[in-house]
């Protein structure tokens, strides 16, 4: 079980207010229809205005779950243009969860975060070069592959 693990609790509580919705209760049907719910666990990271900033579904063991959740919090910060906060979380994922499936995403968006904070810098290409080196078989390597074209 993932949620009872103290590091998982710490990860979520640090960044968010946790709320659970039971999809077996008829009273929740309208809400679930509104968010186009289809599978469980269905994780949404939301702004306090209800806007969905990130989502993922399906079981993940604790390390993968923490890394994926942290990427969600980081992308939320990035989309809110809180670049320093986003950078800190992505760096944390890469330091503590570098072997998880979420790590390439963290490295990709670390570059994006630094670029959006300083478009005149070269951090986007620097981090994407790191991505090619460290995670060559990842989807996120493919996402930056247009930079590899001659």
């Amino acid at each position: 079980m993932t949620y009872p693990q103290p590091p998982v609790v710490d990860t979520i509580v640090k960044h968010a207010i946790a709320v659970q919705i039971d999809n077996s209760k008829q009273e929740n049907n309208q809400f679930l229809h509104g968010i186009h719910h289809i599978w469980t666990p269905d994780i949404r990271i939301l702004h306090y205005d209800g806007f969905e900033l990130y989502r993922f579904d399906g079981f993940l063991p604790p390390p993968e779950f923490m890394a994926r959740s942290l990427c969600g919090f980081a992308l939320g910060q990035l989309r809110l243009k809180r670049f320093d906060a986003a950078e800190a979380i992505y760096a944390d994922v890469l330091r503590r969860f570098s072997t998880t499936y979420a790590a390439p995403e963290a490295l990709y968006y670390l570059g994006v975060t630094r670029y959006r904070r300083d478009p005149n810098g070269d951090e986007l290409l620097t981090q994407w070069a790191n991505l090619r080196s460290r995670y060559p078989g990842s989807e996120y390597r493919v996402k930056q592959s247009f930079k590899e074209l001659p």
Binding site: I17, A18, Q20, I21, R44, I45, L46, G50
Partner: protein
Amino acid sequence: MASLPWERDYAAALERARSEHKFVFLDVFNPG
């Protein structure tokens, strides 16, 4: 064993997130 302090009310979770400057972590689950 520790567990998450789950809110059970979505609107309350949004309000707490606003006042505490946090996100909402929403988990739709099936108890079965």
